[in-house]
Each structure stands twice: as structure tokens, then as C-alpha cells.
């Protein structure tokens, strides 16, 4: 562990204070307020009443809650690994000295630049049954004879959402990993080549271990983002068919709209706890305290 001078600490504190105030105002206070609110029967059309854990007990009996919890977890389990793997492949390709590298990088990044709601609308137009691009292209090329209803079953709607999400966020993973790749000194590879390490050995023994901290960061960001998935579902499926694609945040939103702030708060707290625990796990197993090299 490195020791710091007093003056160093002082400067650090001065620089950190604005951020700390910001986090306190816009992160901690809302979280605590939501937490307190989740102990209340706080419904616009009834008297406010302290009910302690009853909102949470009600959650356990609520089939809609379990359905949305299951969807949200499944969504993370499928979308995040897909994005990481694809992102890694893109990053490795972009890391090579290919022609038009700058141009290709911009192209890859484009989906990430588009606002989430806009890209969701875009996919809505692609999936649309009667005038969607997907059906149009598949029909023209003769791959299908009959129109496909992409959002028909819970299963197909789920994968339609996954595809849209992967399309949108893979670039983000690719860019983060690309930065990580470029931080790896080229000398190590030269040395490995002298030792006659093949491509796979160089990747698995050098690239992957050295990329690990960045990979964990990418995983962390993507997981937390995926837990909160809202815009895509709100636009594409509205939670259907039959509620099978309702995410936790969409479910909380529906209660918020109905004026039941207490219950909506308890759902939000569960959402918060899940992402908090996952973050802790990542940080623990990511071993951030170890320095690179």
C-alpha cells in the first residue's frame, strides 16, 4: 500500500468534495427516501400509513412481481454475455491495423450514439408484422413464404428484445475493451512470439488476463444497465404478450403511475438491492486492488 502526504490528501479531498455532494444529493438521498417510503402505505387516494415490511410481504405473493423478476434476470443472463463476447470480437478486430480503421470504428459506435428510445422505435419498425423491414427482406429474398410475427410468443418477444439490446450496446463494450487492449504493451507480444507462443496462447495467456479488469468493468456496467431495462421494453412490447416481457422497472413504473408510491418504492428497492449485490460480487471477484502488471 502506498502512503500519501498530508497535502496530497488535502488536495484530493478538495477535488472530491463536489462529486461527493453531487452523489449525496442525487444518489443517497433519493435512495434513502425510497427506502423509507417502501415502509409506508403511500397511495395517493388513501391515508398514508406506516406498515413496515408489508409491501415486501405483498411482493412475495404477487405473481406479476415474480414474472417480471424472472424476465429481468433472464434478460441479464442472456444479453450481457452475448454483448461481452461480441464486443470482445469487435475490439480484437478493431485493434488490428486494418484499412479505414477510424471509419469502421465510427460505424461500430453508431448504435450506441442513438438514444435508446429512438433505437427502440427503429426496431419496432424492423419487427413490425405487416410493414416491417425484417419481414420485407426475408420475403423478398425468399427465405420465408409467410410473414413472421416476431413478437408473437413470450419466447420470440424475448429474443427480439435481446437482439435489439445487443445491437445497441455491443459497441459500448467494444470501445471499452478496445481501450483496454491498447493499454497492453506490445513488447509482451513480441516476447511471446520469440518464445513461439501461438495466437491462441497469446490470447489466453496474455490478452485475456491483462484485459480482465477492463472486462469486469464492462460486465459491471452492462449488468447494471440490463437490470434497469425499461425503454426498449416500454416501446417494443409494453411488457407483452401476456406480461411475459415486463421488466422490474416497467412493473415499478406501472405502480408509480397508479399512485401507489409505497409499493413502487419497494419494487425499486429490490431492484436496487439486486444491482448492489451484483456490483459487490463483481468488485470482489474482479480484484480491483491488484495493480495491472
Amino acid at each position: 500500500m502506498k502512503t500519501y502526504y498530508k497535502s496530497e490528501i488535502k488536495t484530493a479531498l478538495i477535488f472530491l468534495t463536489p462529486l461527493a455532494i453531487f452523489i449525496l444529493l442525487f444518489v443517497f438521498i433519493p435512495i434513502i427516501a425510497t427506502f423509507i417510503n417502501s415502509f409506508f402505505k403511500d397511495i395517493t387516494f388513501l391515508n398514508k400509513k406506516f406498515i413496515f415490511l408489508q409491501n415486501y410481504f405483498y411482493l412475495f405473493k404477487d405473481a406479476g412481481f415474480w414474472q417480471s423478476l424472472r424476465f429481468t434476470l433472464l434478460f441479464i443472463i442472456v444479453s450481457v454475455p452475448a454483448e461481452i463476447i461480441l464486443g470482445l470480437i469487435f475490439a480484437l478486430i478493431l485493434n488490428y491495423n486494418i484499412p479505414y480503421r477510424g471509419f469502421i470504428r465510427v460505424c461500430v459506435l453508431l448504435p450506441w450514439v442513438i438514444p435508446a428510445v429512438v433505437s427502440a422505435r427503429l426496431w419496432e419498425l424492423i419487427y413490425n408484422y405487416s410493414y416491417g423491414l425484417a419481414n420485407f427482406l426475408l420475403l423478398k429474398t425468399g427465405l420465408i413464404n409467410e410473414l413472421v410475427n416476431w413478437l408473437e410468443t413470450g419466447f420470440s418477444a424475448f429474443f427480439a428484445l435481446i437482439v435489439a439490446d445487443v445491437w445497441k450496446t455491443t459497441p459500448f463494450v467494444a470501445i471499452i475493451l478496445l481501450a483496454g487492449l491498447q493499454a497492453i504493451p506490445q513488447e509482451i507480444y513480441f516476447q511471446a512470439m520469440i518464445d513461439r507462443a501461438n495466437v491462441w496462447q497469446r490470447f489466453s495467456k496474455i490478452t485475456l488476463p491483462l484485459l480482465k479488469p477492463i472486462l469486469i468493468i464492462a460486465l459491471l456496467f452492462r449488468t447494471i444497465d440490463a437490470i434497469r431495462i425499461f425503454d426498449l421494453v416500454y416501446v417494443l412490447t409494453k411488457g407483452g404478450p401476456g406480461g411475459s416481457t415486463t421488466s422490474l422497472s416497467l412493473y415499478a413504473y406501472k405502480y408509480f403511475l397508479s399512485g401507489d408510491f409505497g409499493y413502487a418504492s419497494s419494487i425499486s428497492i429490490i431492484l436496487f438491492l439486486i444491482s448492489f449485490i451484483i456490483s459487490l460480487l463483481y468488485i470482489k471477484f474482479g480484484k480491483f486492488e491488484q495493480e495491472i502488471l
Binding site: T44, G64, Y129, N149, L151, G242, G243, S258, D260
Partner: protein
């Protein structure tokens, strides 16, 4: 606070200017998105934080029980006492079912909506059907016959389009078909009654429209909302359409392929049942937190006046909340279908009138849509929905 399509917002801006000229009171129009849920969100936030603005706002019919029970709406009785004559012109059934809360009138209707059946009179005539279908059985029969012929040239053609996606409109569609079979959504002794044979038959029928008769397109339960059905029908790809009256003006627009080929009638019913339309529409109310209630009341009176209601119909094609406007000569000349609407609007069926209705609706949407998707049997869907809704009722009735 108003929202909606750009032409609607422009119209409200024009109204505000007219009002200012007449009374000298300046009205600031707060713009909202077109999406109904987002409009509610904006209002819920303003009202829970006891904002002084907006003073006056428009509400969807189904929000009113929640807004009233939350004591967000200024009771209008004392204002109405002084201006009692203004109540006369309205659809009485609408005010009675929607705007009265604890013997107080808390809002007034601005315009009325109800589900209606649009049909292609040219196609019916060609196939030798003189009248539009009276019963659902007829509708299926006509659709099958005409669809078979037209599909040969236009494979995208379907008999009947309606709103089946998982959203509020689906509840309206279900309610109409169920009540036309003497079913519906009932409350008895603080419990909801949903799982009855009439409703099961109605839901089975809705499912059959898509999967058995195949006269409704397969994306009915994934994508079909108002605009999707309207566009589908307007392209000439459907024989019948269930929609709100707003579609009329668009169907009859200059560049519409179905212009002058269509007509409207009341929705069909099952044998032995009666046609009904789900009651929709928007109402105007004054915020309890308004710091300018007197001026607000003047604006409410202005918006619900004969003159403005007529303008509403002529400019936006909305259906006025006042019956007297439907007999206006100028109106009947430009909007002849208003004659039929006035009759249809006497058979409006409201959605459950409880402050926690959105949650009931959410559950209903989930199960009805699930049944349409074939995920769950209609009978089981209704049984489950009833069970889940009664949990909600228990939670909020205490």
C-alpha cells in the same frame, strides 16, 4: 395542460387566444406528449407535489376515480349552482357515470369516445350484403366470404381488425364484446366478478377471430393499437374495423384509399345480447391546488360551451360532450355520421370506476392478451385474472 397530436395542440393554442380576447384572462398552454400514459405521469407528478400549475387540465375518463379519490379535483357544485343552465346540453349518462364523486360534480366532459364499427360498404355491396352485420356471428360469416375472394388478389387482406395488443385499448375491446354477450366486469360485495360463462365465451370468440376463423391478422395481439388498426383499414386491407370515432376524418381524408367507400355503425352483439361501446373520452377539471380557481372555472365554461364544442367537432373531428351540438345543421352537413354517433353514445359502458383501476386494467391486459396469444386457456385466464384482481381489491379497499 393538454397534449396529443400537433394539430390538437395548435387548436388549444387558438382556443386560449380566443378566450383571452373574450375575457382578458391569459391562458398558458402546457404541452404534453401524445401518449396517454405519459400525460397521466406528468399530471400525477404535478398534483402529488401540490403544484399551483396546472390550474385546469384534461383527464382521460379512467383517471377520474383516482384523481377524485386523491382529492386533487375541485368540486364544481358551488360553481354550477350559479351557472346551472350549462349542465343541460350534456350527455347525462356520461356525467352520471363518470363525473360525480360523493354527490359532487368534479369534472365535465369535453369530448366523448365510444367504440364503433367501420365497414367497407363497397365490398359488402359487391358481395350482396345489403346491411352491415348485426351480430358477431354475421360479422364472421361476412368476413369469411369476402376475405376468401379478396385474398386471391391481396394476400394481406383480413376481415376484421381491432385492438388486441397488451394495453388499455384491449380492455375496451374485451369489455364491448363481453357486454354484448350480457357479460362484463362487475363488482359485488367488494369483489370482482369476471370468471363467468358469458365472459369466457367472449374471450374465446376474440381468440377464435385470430386463430380459428383467421379473419383478424396474426399480429392483432402483438401490435394492434388504434393507429395500427386505422392504418391497416385505411390501406384497404380490411373489411371491418373496430376503432374510436377519430378515425373517421382520417379515413375520409383526400388521399385516403378508402375515402367514400366506408360507413359506420354500432358494434355487433351476440345473439340475445345488445350492442355496446366502451366509454372513453376526455374530461376537464380544476386542480384543488390552483391559485386561480375563478378564472379556471371561466375557462372550463368556455371549453364546454356550445360554440367551442362545435369548433372542436369541426376542427378536430372530436365528438362533443353536448348532445345539442349533434343536431347542429352545419355539423350534420360536414359530419353526417354524427347522427349515428348520437344514437351509439346512448349505449356506453364504463370501465370499472375505482381509483386503483389502472392496476386492474394492467392485470386484465396481461391475462386477456395471454389468452389471445394462446399462452393460456380463456377460462383459465379469466379465473386467474379474477383471483389476482381480488388481491388488488383487498389491498386497496381497506
Amino acid at each position: 395542460m393538454v397534449g396529443g397530436a400537433p394539430n390538437e395542440v395548435a387548436f388549444w393554442n387558438k382556443l386560449a387566444k380566443e378566450f383571452e380576447k373574450e375575457t382578458g384572462i391569459k391562458v398558458e398552454i402546457l404541452k404534453q406528449p401524445a401518449d396517454t400514459e405519459q400525460r397521466r405521469q406528468g399530471l400525477v407528478i404535478a398534483l402529488t407535489s401540490k403544484n399551483k400549475d396546472p390550474d385546469v387540465f384534461l383527464m382521460d375518463v379512467v383517471w377520474i376515480p383516482q384523481f377524485a379519490a386523491s382529492h386533487w379535483l375541485e368540486p364544481l357544485n358551488s360553481y354550477l349552482k350559479r351557472d346551472s343552465q350549462i349542465l343541460k346540453g350534456f350527455f347525462k349518462n356520461v356525467i352520471k357515470t363518470v363525473d360525480v364523486y360523493h354527490q359532487n360534480i368534479i369534472a365535465l366532459p369535453v369530448y366523448i369516445d365510444g367504440g364503433i364499427l367501420y365497414y367497407r360498404k363497397d365490398l359488402l355491396q359487391k358481395a350482396g350484403f345489403k346491411n352491415p352485420p348485426q351480430t358477431w356471428e354475421d360479422l364472421v360469416d361476412y368476413s369469411l366470404k369476402i376475405q376468401r375472394i379478396i385474398k386471391k388478389e391481396n394476400p394481406d387482406f383480413y376481415g376484421f381488425v381491432w385492438q388486441g395488443a397488451q394495453y388499455e385499448g384491449l380492455v375496451c375491446n374485451f369489455l364491448e364484446i363481453a357486454t354484448s354477450n350480457k357479460g362484463g366486469i362487475f363488482f359485488k360485495n367488494g369483489r370482482i366478478i369476471l370468471n363467468i360463462p358469458q365472459n369466457i365465451k367472449a374471450l374465446e370468440f376474440m381468440k377464435d377471430l385470430i386463430h380459428k376463423y383467421k379473419i383478424s391478422p396474426p399480429n392483432t395481439f402483438t401490435e394492434m393499437k388504434e393507429e395500427e388498426t386505422r392504418i391497416f383499414f385505411q390501406k384497404g386491407n380490411a373489411l371491418f374495423e373496430r376503432n374510436w370515432p377519430y378515425a373517421w376524418m382520417l379515413h375520409q381524408a383526400q388521399n385516403s384509399p378508402v375515402k367514400n367507400k366506408i360507413d359506420i355503425t354500432e358494434l355487433p352483439h351476440f345473439k340475445g345480447g345488445k350492442s355496446t361501446s366502451a366509454l372513453g373520452g376526455w374530461h376537464i377539471g380544476i386542480s384543488k391546488y390552483s391559485d386561480n380557481k375563478k378564472a379556471s372555472w371561466k375557462f372550463v365554461k368556455f371549453v364546454t360551451s356550445y360554440k367551442v364544442q362545435k369548433e372542436l367537432a369541426l376542427n378536430l373531428g372530436w365528438n362533443p360532450a353536448r348532445t345539442d351540438v349533434y343536431k347542429d345543421k352545419e355539423i350534420l352537413k360536414t359530419l353526417p355520421h354524427f347522427k349515428k354517433l348520437r344514437v351509439i353514445f346512448n349505449n356506453l359502458v364504463p370501465r370499472p370506476k375505482v381509483p386503483y383501476y389502472p392496476l386492474i386494467s394492467e392485470t386484465l391486459q396481461r391475462y386477456i392478451n395471454g389468452a389471445l396469444a394462446g399462452k393460456i386457456e380463456p377460462a383459465k385466464a379469466l379465473a386467474q385474472a379474477q383471483k389476482e384482481i381480488n388481491l388488488i381489491v383487498n389491498r386497496y379497499e381497506k
